[in-house]
Symmetry: C2
Subunit: 411 residues, 2 copies
């Protein structure tokens, strides 16, 4: 493991200082290579699919694992889009002249060696590899065991393009020991690894956060709320609530609990109920909700659960402060929304709710690097430090100060 | 410990949303309170001094521990300066409208609960407490055992001012269990603590980095170099080298190794030697340096040592690449400098050297929050993530996205 990581570290200055032109040219070559080798990829992927079926993977999981011509084309398109993004390295973030006449520039630079740990979908291998490459970082990739053949062939194809360009393969590589022990080992190697980004299961992320000496940017839980304030526009409120829950219930920015102001509940709850039933949503309500419409009871445990499914809790509150208190208690600081026409309440909610993304009159589903305009995303950070919310190529950079003097010494 | 930290966490939204006006008013009251209670502080400090003498603390350490009228006045002045700094919370860092017509604003917000671990000098207690307060964070302070009485009285005085303003004392508090076990406990409490900032001894910082589940921004080692390139201006080179080593040898931004280009060595080394001898610097050279001037041998271990004393290694190189390779191997990514009149070499060095601060024709001693214009500093981060280099009040903030919609749902 150590000699492998030494190689990764050794490559950091090579990729960090590669020109934008060269990087983009290579990304386009990688896109072509993936398309040209579609059959090789499908062959390897079918090994994963066979094993998956033999091991009884769920249909949804198998579907995420599957690569076909269309999906490989999409992977290539994604690489071309990443190539077209604005260069993240070298951006001057700030600049000034200090009292001593030193010209100080705060400049974006790559982080160094970035390890990303993820699950199932093999397209993440090329996506994240390309995002790290574009942002000048060495990528260490650790995909799911169920996608091992697929990840290996994708990484090999990217590495072949690196080799054609006389660049070391270690710039994008798979972690050689992909066991849990391998990961445990990796996250203690702060001498070589600058950042670890775990995506996926809560247990894995907890394990990494608790044990890593490498800085961690987590991409985990999304327990999001929509609060319908007494002065909400009813139509907007219903549309946003339905969208936040039902448009794609399995993702982290979907709503898990709808918070209803008591003073609007009576006039809106029946319409909401009908709309959700229409979408096949399983509803759970607190006792006050149950008084108006009959449904299952929402318990404390329910309020603390990220369903990742078409299930919704409904909670009744007296006012915005009670709504905020509920969000503070159960929210995961991911995405929170208020629906209101009241200016002061909207601003109050935006200030008081501590989350990566706080919305007024819009669905929580918009928390996404693509939607934000970042191009592609590594994921959505639930960290408070370094990067918060959607994490694109700019969030894969850090900064350094370049200081231009003319002989200054400190008095 | 847990109930104490719960209280800290509970205070986070209170201080996070306090108005700038109110915060600055309180900081000025704190400054007055410190001055007004000078004798109370000196009384408590003398208990630390007595214990220190009894326990055989070194004179330098005792001097750092000492509080007198002048130093307490300086502490008050520092608080007034912090009050006068531009409000860090609420800065709009970026803003745009996305394709869906959502107005997205990236806004600076406090981090939450910040724990700072430091040693000896008791003025850090008021400085860091005030910096956290100004930036809207709850401060958990853990000073050195040798300054316990002093830190307690200072924290009490700040807390008395909080109480007068009907604010909970937990906004600025000392960690109740200041033992190593207490710290070990603290750094596992990621549910309550958002950031831990260790300053001081390498062993402590290593322990925290290796064991913390709370994000860590380290403030540790500074192993800095000055490289005198063949096209350096001789006068600038000598002045910068002397300043970087001798102006204050005990600090982290002082130079430990001077790297000399061979082609300039013969004409500059004797002058440098004389200048350093004049300053009482103990010199160690590699074999090539020893050929020109007789001095002690600089070993690999020397090149890897942060002396924090008036001792200097001198290393000879063939060119800029060899200099960069040496810096990559031994540097601590803190502050590195090149002295040259060559434009291309200067730019190359700035790009290739990966450090928080990279200088051309200026002393490494300028790496400092005050000098940079940040007002006051929490310290100098040797992390790559979140904050790098001098860390002021802006670096004690994170951000959130405020998103203003008018009913948008995701298609």
């Amino acid at each position: 493991m150590e000699s492998y990581l030494q190689q990764s570290k050794h490559c950091a200055p090579i990729i960090a200082t590669l020109s934008s032109k060269k990087k983009n040219h290579i990304l386009l070559q990688m896109a072509d290579a993936l398309e040209n080798q579609t059959s090789r990829i499908i062959d390897e992927n079918s090994k994963d699919m066979d094993l998956g079926e033999k091991n009884g993977l769920e249909t949804a999981m198998l579907d995420r694992l599957l690569l076909n011509e269309k999906r490989i084309k999409d992977m290539a398109t994604s690489l071309r889009e990443i190539a077209s993004l604005k260069e993240p390295v070298g951006r001057v973030l700030e600049g000034w002249v200090n009292n001593d006449g030193l010209r100080i520039e705060k400049v974006a630079v790559p982080i160094g060696v970035v390890a990303v740990i993820y699950e199932s979908r093999p397209n993440v291998t090329s996506d994240v590899g390309a995002l790290c490459f574009k942002s000048g970082n060495v990528a260490i990739l650790k995909g799911g065991k169920e996608a091992e053949y697929s990840n290996r062939i994708i990484a090999s194809i990217l590495q072949e393009v690196l080799a054609i360009n006389n660049l070391p393969k270690a710039i994008i590589s798979l972690l050689p020991d992909s066991s849990r022990e391998g990961v445990a080992n990796l996250i203690k190697m702060d001498r070589y690894v600058d950042l670890v980004v775990p995506r996926g299961g809560e247990a894995l992320i907890r394990f990494i956060s608790q044990n890593s000496s490498v800085p961690v940017v987590k991409h985990d839980k999304g327990l999001c709320h929509v609060y319908i304030h007494s002065e909400a526009d009813r139509q907007k409120a219903i549309a946003i609530a339905i969208n936040a829950k039902c448009q794609r219930p399995g993702v982290c920015n979907a709503m898990e609990t709808l918070i209803l102001d008591k003073s609007i509940a009576k006039e809106i709850l029946l319409d909401l109920y009908d709309a959700f039933v229409d979408k096949g949503t399983q509803l759970k309500g607190d006792p006050e909700v149950q008084e108006i419409v009959d449904m299952e009871l929402a318990t404390e445990i329910d309020f603390d659960t990220e369903y990742a499914a078409n299930i919704l809790n409904i909670k009744m509150v007296n006012d915005v402060d009670e709504a905020i208190a509920h969000i503070r208690r159960f929210g995961s600081e991911h995405s929170e929304a208020i629906v209101t026409e009241n200016y002061t309440i909207a601003e109050y909610f935006l200030d008081q709710v501590d989350a990566a993304c706080v919305y007024v009159n819009a669905s929580t589903r918009f928390t996404d690097g693509g939607v934000f305009g970042f191009g592609a995303e590594v994921g959505i950070s639930t960290n408070k430090l370094h990067a918060r919310g959607p994490m694109g190529i700019n969030e894969l950079t850090t900064y350094k100060y370049k200081i231009y003097g003319n002989g200054q010494i400190r008095a």
